[in-house]
Each structure stands twice: as C-alpha cells, then as structure tokens.
C-alpha cells in the first residue's frame, strides 16, 4: 500500500499543484471525510495535464498514465461487494478514495461507474441494486472533491456478468462496480 502510494504520488502531487490545491486528501483511507474538496474551478485548461503526464517514480520505471500503472491504487478499477450490499468494503476503500483524488485533481477527466449485481433475485431489482453500488462510489468520489459532472453512473444489474456460472465463485466476481475512464 505504502509503496504504491509513493509511486504514483509524484503524478498526484503535480496534479494537485496544477489544481492549486493546498492539501492532499487523506491517503490512508482511515479518515475519508476529512479531505478538503479540491477547488476544481482553479484547474482551468491545464487540467488534463495530470492525466497525461508521465509518472517518473524514483525507480524511473513507469511512464504511462497512473491509471495503467500496476503499482498505483488507480489500477484497481473493479470494486467488489458483499451480497445484497452497496457498502464499499474496507479492502477497496483506499482504491476508491484514490480515484476520487485523481478526479479532483483532474477536473477534465470523466469516468463512468458501472454498477453490477449477481444473478440471484429479480432482474429489475438487481438494476436498482447495481445503481445503488455505483451511486455509493460516486458519493465517496465526490467526498474526495470530484465534481458531479465528472462522474456518470449506469447500472447493468445482472445483465453483464463478468463470470458465467452459477455459484459463489462466479457471483462474487459479478457483484461489482467498474470504473471506465
């Protein structure tokens, strides 16, 4: 966790500088509501820089978008949920918060959050459940300073399973929300 935070920190720091933000929201995830919203209005036209800047960590290995850096929290784009629950689990909280900070730092970047459910239960109810999951993530992102117009949500319910098959091993892969940048 610490390592990955450090590795994408330079990108984030650059973005935050561009955005004219004074504080860095809590990376630990231990206190999610504390991070002050990034003032997105100040970002202006330079806002896409953060998304395109190559990240040079101390190792100097990663030069692509932080979203594609396997060592970045932003690399996690699928968030899994417990059955019939829309609560972001503790093990995915840091990743969701990192996405929130990334969006806050890059106001021109938009993401679509697709909510999904496993196949159990009725289809339209699962559409509603998938929307709840997507909206729960959206609220966390906005708490980190992402603007509402950066986030599109759509629920596919059980219509687009990630894993076929009827059993818990498939179901737990299907109860999810996906970030699509």
């Amino acid at each position: 966790m610490k390592l990955s935070t450090l590795k994408f920190a330079p990108v984030l720091a650059l973005s935050l500088l561009l955005a004219g933000c004074a504080g860095m929201p809590g990376m630990s995830g231990s206190d999610t509501n504390e991070g002050a919203p990034v003032a997105d209005a100040a970002a202006g036209d330079g806002s896409t820089d953060g998304a395109q800047t190559s990240g040079l960590s101390e190792g100097g290995a990663w030069t692509g978008s932080p979203l594609e850096n396997p060592n970045s929290l932003l690399y996690t784009k699928v968030i899994y949920f417990d059955y019939d629950s829309d609560e972001v689990r503790a093990d995915y909280r840091d990743a969701v918060l990192a996405h929130g900070e990334y969006l806050a730092a890059n106001p021109a970047v938009t993401t679509t959050i697709e909510g999904h459910a496993d196949e159990r239960g009725s289809r339209e109810y699962n559409i509603a459940l998938g929307e709840r999951r997507a909206n729960g993530i959206k609220r966390l992102l906005m708490a980190q300073g992402a603007a509402e117009n950066q986030i599109i949500t759509i629920s596919y319910g059980e219509e687009r399973p990630a894993a076929m098959g009827s059993g818990e091993t498939s179901w737990e892969l299907n109860r999810r929300a996906e970030f699509v940048y």
Binding site: R123, Y125, E131, E159, S166
Partner: protein
C-alpha cells in the same frame, strides 16, 4: 379407466415433439390423475397425392391439450382405428380404451392455394358431437389454426377459454464467434415454435411488456450505453423512445386500458414508480421513498399497482392505488418476494420468492394470503400468467443456461421450452388479441 391409467403410467415422462428448429419438451412432473382422457386421431388428407399436413395439425392439437395438464392424450400407436369424420367413428373403439372424448378431422385444398381444415369433437359415452368447425387456412397459418382448434376443444371441455393461440415474448443472449454478445428480443408462439426476432442489440435488452391489445411491446434497451424505454409495434417494427431520463429507466408495465405505462425511474435520486401517460407524454410519481421501488404491475381493473420495495429492509411486494395514495405491504412470508404480476382474474399474484438459497416461482392468493410454490429450480424468475390464468411461464437455469419453463397453476404439470442455443430469459405471455376470438 384402469386401462387408461396403465397407459398413462407406462407413457414416457419425457415426450418430445421435433418440428422446425425448435424443440418442445414436456415434462410431466406428477401423475396425470384427474386429466381428461382424450383421443386426437391423426387428421386425414382429402386432396391429390399424399400430405402430412393433417397429421401435423393433429399433433399440434394433441401436444397443446397434453401440456395444459388438463388432458391425457392417447398415443397414436394405441389407437384401434383412424376415423376422419363422424361417418367413420365407432364409439365402442374408444370406449374400450377409456376415452371420454374423441377428435377427428380432415384437411382438403380449398382451390385457392390454401386449405380447409375440418374437425369434430365427440363425447364418446353419449355418442354425440359436441362441436365441429371448418377453418380456412394457409400454409403459413397452419400452426395457428391448430392452436385455434386446441383452444376450441379446451373451452368446450373445461368451460375456460384456451390460450394456445397466443404468443410469448422473451430475451435471448448469444455469444458470437468474435466473443461479443448479441441480445435479441423475440416473439414466438406460446409453445415456443416459430420464433421471430423483433430487436437485436450488442447491449442488454430487458423487461418486455405486452400492450393489452397484444400489438405492441414496451422494453428496456441499453443501446448507446444508456437505459431507455421503447414502445415497438410488433407487426411493423416501428418504435418510439418514451423514457430516457438520467439513471434507471426500467420495468415498463402497461395499464389495462393501454394508455399508460407504469415504470421505474431514478431521475430524482433513487428508484421510484412513475406513471407515464403515453399520448400526453406526462409523468406522475406514484411512490416516494428512499428505498428501492421497482417492478410495477397493474391490477386487471386498473385500480392498483403492485411493486417491489425494500423499504422494510428486504424486497417485498407492496401495493399503491394507481392514482396515488397509501402504500400497503402485501407479502410477509419469507425474506425475498419480488417481480409480482397479477392473474387475469385479479385474485392472485405470481411472484419470485426465496426459499433458503433458491429462487422459486410462486402464486399468492390475495384473499387468504396463501403462498403456493410452483417451481423447484435454484434461480427461477420472471413468472407470467397465460391470458386464461391456467399456466405460468417463467425463466429457469438448466446446466447454467437460461431456459423457459411453464407450469400449470396447480403445479401438477411442468414443461421446458428448449427453444434454441443461447441464454433465454424474461418470458412474457401475450394477452388475447382480437384475432384469437374471431372464429368463435
């Protein structure tokens, strides 16, 4: 009767009829006790040369009657004679086999490229004709004509209209060779034959709902990566987008007068039930709760809308007056009840209920709140009544693949409609259309 029982007892439990591309498998889940013994003799051909048309029609009639659960049809191989009209019938041939009723018929060319199908239904014990009809038909309408004959026999002998000459709509998804998914909305005869595609998309299609006249389908389409509700004319393919708000646009349900759609929208923050006046394009909101409210269904008299809500913590069925008002909880048994729809007489609901870890189709009697579970799968869903209330069609999973099944409302006869490759789901039984009744 004893002999008949033995015959039924030795009949195979699985009975498959293969025709065209589809296969219909009828699975008699319990004994056919109480089913009326009937003999449907292969219909004859009174034209030049030889033709199987008569046999095909009578096989469809026999299969319809059999799968209703109300009839035990005599296998053709057990018949002692093959009469084609009243003049050939020896009633004792059928009495000795324990038959209560007998159907005979004949097909002849009508001289205009079509056919005339004649059938007669007899009471074997009284030795008299109960009904008889001549149907003009064409090559294209042979199946439909056979279903109409089955409907007439069913009505004459049970006192209830038949629902064989109706349709079902359902969703199929198939994986294409390039790995992409193709989703189709299809319409087929109620026995699963003659499927026709009315919409195809690379994105999900959901929740088909028949207009009360059986000429339109409302459905949800995710084309352009956004859920929208469309109304499509089944016979012309013309369609209009009627709801495309922010968030969920789902679960369309026609009002009995065909003027309105109840639907689920989350445009105001979370899923609520709305009523859309289709011609006026005006929207009114029926529910107002922070919980999930979805899956509306109108009562046949148009006074109430049932819906699924988790306002009590778990999904249960609730009811609200169709013009707004107090919400009343309807289901209390079990931890999960969803996707309700009314029986045509308005006296019961069919819904999905959870039993342990399994999801099953059940009927809730609205006068005494008795819940009768009808299916035995693990993931059964989307139940829909036949327009005469005699059967329920639903989606089930067999070896991980979605298939359709139907069950008689007493749970006695269950059948699989093995339609084709692909994942088949969300069946909805059409209402009667005007053409269903034109010959009666």
């Amino acid at each position: 009767m004893n002999m008949m029982k033995r015959i039924i007892g030795t009949m195979l439990l699985l009975w498959a009829v293969q025709l065209n591309a589809a296969t219909l498998t009828i699975e008699i889940t319990e004994g056919a006790e109480g089913a009326l013994p009937i003999a449907v003799v292969p219909f004859g051909w009174a034209g030049p040369g030889a033709s199987d048309i008569g046999t095909e029609i009578s096989e469809i009639v026999r299969s319809d009657l059999q799968r209703s659960g109300r009839f035990a049809a005599l296998p053709v191989k057990d018949m002692l004679a093959r009469p084609q009209s009243d003049a050939d019938v020896e009633f004792r041939d059928w009495k000795v086999l324990g038959m209560d009723n007998l159907v005979v018929g004949q097909v002849r060319p009508n001289g205009q490229g079509g056919f005339l199908v004649r059938f007669q239904l007899f009471d074997v014990f009284k030795g008299e004709q109960l009904t008889g009809y001549n149907f003009p038909t064409t090559d294209r309408d042979l199946r439909s004509t056979a279903h109409k004959i089955a409907d007439l026999i069913y009505e004459k002998l049970t006192g209830q209209p038949g629902a064989f000459d109706t349709r079902i709509a359902y969703v199929v998804s198939t994986n294409k060779a390039d790995g992409s998914q193709e989703v189709s909305l299809k319409v087929a005869d109620a026995d699963g034959f003659d499927p026709q595609t009315i919409v195809t998309s690379s994105e999900p299609l959901m929740s088909p709902s028949w207009s009360p006249d059986g000429r339109k389908l409302a459905y949800v389409s995710f084309e352009r990566k956004k859920a929208s509700i469309y109304i499509q004319e089944v016979f012309t393919g013309r369609r209009q987008k009627v709801a495309s708000f922010k968030g969920i646009n789902g679960a369309p349900a026609w009002s009995p007068d065909g003027r309105k759609l109840a639907l689920t929208l989350s445009k105001d923050g979370n899923p609520e039930i709305y009523v859309l006046d289709i011609n006026k394009n005006s929207l009114s909101r029926l529910t107002n709760h922070y919980a999930i409210d979805t899956e509306p269904a109108w009562s046949p008299d148009g006074r109430y809308v049932m819906f699924t809500s988790d306002r009590g913590g778990k999904p249960q069925i609730y009811r609200v007056p169709a013009f707004g008002g107090k919400v009343t909880r309807v289901t209390f048994e079990g931890s999960y009840n969803a996707r309700a729809s009314y029986a045509p007489d308005g006296e019961s609901l069919t819904l999905v209920t959870r039993q342990g870890g399994d999801f099953r189709v059940a009927v809730l009697n609205l006068s005494n709140n008795a819940l009768l579970v009808l299916s035995d799968g693990r993931l059964d869903e989307s139940p829909s009544f036949a327009p005469n209330g005699s059967m329920i069609i639903y989606a089930t999973k067999i070896n991980g693949k979605g298939e359709l099944a139907a069950v008689s409302v007493d749970g006695r006869i269950r059948q699989r409609l093995a339609l084709q490759d692909g994942d088949v789901r969300e069946p909805v039984w059409s209402p009667y259309t005007k053409t269903n009744r034109r010959n009666q």
